[in-house]
Symmetry: C2
Subunit: 161 residues, 2 copies
């Protein structure tokens, strides 16, 4: 299995996350935009996930929750800027446990022969916001989600790949 | 007249613009959210401005144009993340002359006794996008807009201030 790479330069409000998948980009795009697939990988283990709304169009809004074993929920919401497509998804992102702090996520799916390079480019309003995410074990959580996504992609991908 | 301050650290996808105004924050908020006022200051001289749409609510979208003397237009659009209020306006921003490049603008209005400190915190998807804005004379353009806003505020503010 490939691994997830994190770039978080000091003193800059940005994180760039990359991961190579043995899957076509259309499948990865579907996994990011079909709520039935999203709930199967986006929450890091052992959290579960529910989706309140997912208006997949330019200007549409989305909201979902992660749930821990004690029934505590962690809710997130945002907006899609531009029409989401395999060429890219641009969205705002806010964790409701820390209202008023917004980041901008740009997700791209680049075909590289038989594999697809997934990139999450995340910019924050401040370096402090970025650092707080890093201190909240973002790297571990996102890495775990990416592993789950790789497992889902393997189950969904054509046998020939 | 006060002046506009720019902070653009090297190698970081961010610009922070501040300007102190001799005006109450509610007036400055109005100037940012009433299209009839917006067209009086937002375009740098000698451009004029028209507003296509300005849906001032959480998830609402906006689009406007700047026009030069030869009738060429420069269009911009984006979305409001969260309910715009005097506490702050968070919006996505895209120049249609360079589609697919999106920035996140956070505008705040902080009362400081008789004056208000306006801050535009702008984060870009990449340092290259930020640098391109800086090379496109962003500092001069925004400074000019801020001067126009100061003039508008002086005309609108109560005589007692």
């Amino acid at each position: 299995m490939t691994s997830t790479h994190f770039i978080a330069e000091p003193h800059t409000p940005q994180v760039v996350i990359t991961r190579e998948f043995n899957a076509p980009r259309d499948l990865l795009f579907r996994a990011h935009t079909d709520p039935d697939l999203l709930v199967q990988w986006l929450a890091p283990r052992p959290l579960t996930m529910t989706v309140d709304r997912f208006d997949l169009w330019d200007g549409g809004s989305w909201r979902y929750q992660h749930w821990d074993a004690d029934g505590r929920d962690y809710s997130f919401h945002g907006l899609f800027h531009g029409e989401p497509s395999p060429d890219g998804i641009v969205q705002t992102f806010e964790f409701e446990g820390r209202p008023g702090h917004v980041s901008l996520w740009t997700t791209t799916f680049a075909e590289q022969g038989d594999t697809t390079l997934l990139t999450h480019n995340v910019v924050y309003q401040t370096v402090e916001d970025r650092d707080l995410d890093l201190e909240s074990r973002m790297e571990e959580s996102v890495g775990d989600s990416m592993d789950r996504l790789a497992g889902l992609a393997a189950r969904l991908a054509p046998v020939s790949r």
